[in-house]
Amino acid sequence: MSDQELRRQHVAWPGNAVEVRSVIKTFNAGTPKQVDALVDIDLTVESGEFVSLIGPSGCGKSTLLRLIANLTEPTAGSIVVNGKPARQARVDQDYGMAFQQAGLFDWRTVVRNVELPLELKSWDRARRRARAMEMLELVKLDEFAGHRPWQLSGGMQQRVAIARALAAAPELLLMDEPFGALDEMTREHMQAELLRITAEAGTSVVFVTHSIPEAVFLADRVVVMSPRPGRITELVSVELGDPRNTDTREDPLFFKKVTEVREALRGIGAKSADELLIEGVAEER
């Protein structure tokens, strides 16, 4: 069974994980400093799908993620997460989130960091602890449960952050360059771990990154974005199959997809962006 099928099996909500419709995000609207961060964004993330958002700085990929997370509101358009408005999804803790900084609380032990979202959901202590330990086993850090975050390496801290993001069993994981600060070796290891973990937990993922190989290795679909104004220029399907491992990185198809994304980023793809958009939408059907 493929990772994606495995993910789908777990999902309670049968519809799409994320539906972004005609979204516009403008900062400082009506002032000389007006910035069109995002224009005409349409994006669907299916249940169990892993989608990477890639683009140069200022293309609005992080803004798009923050909109899905309802950490900011769109200027126009609608965002539906797990079949409900984004705000409701946030209130219901329907998604877990991980940032470039692990953002662990130094005054808490590792296991108590993972318990944090569960505390906010008012789970009782025993249930919290059991679930947090389960999550730490998933990221293979259960023996560090009693450690303090600063005693862990950067990669281990990110794994704790991922365990925390998954603790409340969200069906959706939103990640904003979580491996950006890691060295290349740790990064590749973390990517493989992330695929394993999200497949096991059955989670849909929206993953923001700067790295082309990272976007391709992880995703079922890579969303290529361009800046000024921020928009989606291309959708690249990555049919690399599952499970993906070290061999995948040496697969000719992997290189082909990396090249495809790179050319899309350079804006020298064979087809116009519009045609590819249509093609991308067709592939979703």
């Binding site: 946030r90 130094d106 005054w107 944090l116 600063w150």
Partner: protein
């Protein structure tokens, strides 16, 4: 911290201190300095032992003033920092003033307080200590409550955490090291303020007023009071760092951490 580590960090200052006292003792003998100029350490120690009862009584008076002011000032400072965090406008009005006041020797205000209370009252001194401690604690704790890691705030926002949850889970724990830093600064400052406040009148029962009272008498006794004042300041400081290390030993070297 290992025993070996303690030894290796303790001996240099101890060695220096002992060498300094020996040099002092020898210098007094060699240059035949008179007691009014500079008494020898041995003579000061003798005066300290001979007058131990009245020195202790004076130290208790000053120590109480410092302690009462320290406790009241800390409580008020913490309470006010929560209010400042809760009410933005209040913060914008008060914070710059608090920072500015920390740089001004407001201890001179005690002369005014002395006029407002009975001449036998300890209240003006305690009020002065309270005021100074209050601003130190206020400025630091308010900073700790406000300067929370942006990622932590985003994270809690993504959990739809209430403002109270944000306070409980992020702001207060974040402010704890700032609180102890404030206490470490405020504790010796409270003692100093208690002494200095005594120079501006009021009852002649504390270490500060004893020092000024004995200026024209036995110099060795005056130095004994100075010694007691130093010991009292040291006591306050040591207790404050002991409290800090008790609560922060699990936090690691840097309270902000290193997420890279």
């Amino acid at each position: 911290m290992t025993f070996r580590h303690v030894i290796s960090t303790v001996w240099p200052p101890v060695l220096f201190g002992v060498a300094f006292l020996v040099a002092w003792e020898l210098a007094v003998a060699a240059f035949d300095w008179q007691e009014y100029f500079l008494p020898a350490p041995s003579v000061i120690w003798q005066a300290f032992v001979d007058n131990s009862d009245i020195v202790r009584e004076a130290a208790i008076v000053s120590g109480q003033n410092a302690l009462v002011g320290l406790v009241v000032g800390t409580v008020l400072g913490v309470a006010m920092s929560f209010l400042l965090m809760r009410f933005r406008l209040l913060n914008d009005m008060v914070s710059p003033l608090a920072v500015a006041l920390n740089a001004i020797p407001i201890v001179v205000l005690v002369a005014i307080f002395n006029n407002q209370f009975a001449t036998t009252s300890e209240v003006p001194r305690r009020l002065m200590v309270t005021l100074i401690v209050y601003f130190v604690v206020l400025v630091n704790v308010a900073k700790g409550l406000r300067q929370v890691d942006a990622t932590h705030l985003e994270l809690l926002h993504s959990y739809a955490a209430s403002p109270f949850d944000v306070l409980r889970k992020a702001r207060v724990p974040n402010a704890v090291p700032y609180f102890f830093t404030a206490l470490r600064v405020a504790a010796p400052l409270a003692v100093i303020t208690a002494f200095v406040a005594e120079y501006f009148g009021g009852p002649q029962n504390g270490l500060g007023s004893r020092i000024t009272a004995t200026v024209s008498g036995s110099r060795a006794t005056m130095w004994a009071y100075v010694l007691a004042a130093m010991l009292l300041g040291l006591l306050f400081y040591l207790v404050s760092i002991a409290l800090e290390s008790l609560t922060t030993q699990h936090r690691g070297a840097s309270p902000k951490g290193d997420n890279t």
